[in-house]
Subunit: 112 residues, 2 copies
Amino acid sequence: MANSKLYKGSLVTIILKLLNESDKMYGYEITQKVKELTKGELKITEGALYPALHKLEAEGLLEVEVKKVDNRLRKYYKLTEKGNKETVSKLQELQDYIKTMQVLVNPKLSLE
Amino acid sequence: MANSKLYKGSLVTIILKLLNESDKMYGYEITQKVKELTKGELKITEGALYPALHKLEAEGLLEVEVKKVDNRLRKYYKLTEKGNKETVSKLQELQDYIKTMQVLVNPKLSLE
DNA sequence: AAATATACATAATATTCTTATGCATATAGT
DNA sequence: ACTATATGCATAAGAATATTATGTATATTT
């Protein structure tokens, strides 16, 4: 997430949405998926990602399952029911934010 | 700016764009204009606004002119030439951010 | 053999915001 | 007349979220 300051606050939304699509993912996989989808424009840093995953787990939005693959550890995360609800809410928040910003930045538009 | 976490990082963009449209504005006026444009959805807090204005001025993006109106002080801010350039850049950043987020959140879209 | 990729983690620091507080004048409501 | 709200500025303490740096460990590529 080493880019424009606007990404601050978006990480949780991104994590939740990706898990919503992919059933279960592990941390490193998330960083790679974001890099791929954004063609390298957005790079999630580990120092931001791992604490965020831990926090979401602590809040009961994610549940974790540890697996050993190729003699290396992977922590697979998946959404809980609570996590599913929060995903919907976060996506709505994002749409609202985008709409609001477009109104502020494009004086021809207006909120209704 | 007592709102969704997504607004973090957007304040400077909002300030610059409003000044770009209105020639010159004072702080309180900016808070009211944002409230009006967003129909109360977004409220800029003074604790965020004033330090941001001071920083932009220190960076040479804004210049200030103090006026006394109705026996009360107003500090009018306007964009410098450097501020104009930064406005263009910040608006581009916002468009890029929105595009990137839509790709991440809507798997049917893609960046080109 | 060394560099890169995979995979996790945390600590120090920076940035940006909220909340709380302070000062001062003007106006509207009771 | 008194009080609340509006106008207008400002700063400090604290929260939230990220960057940068560092650490551990195994696997693969050059």
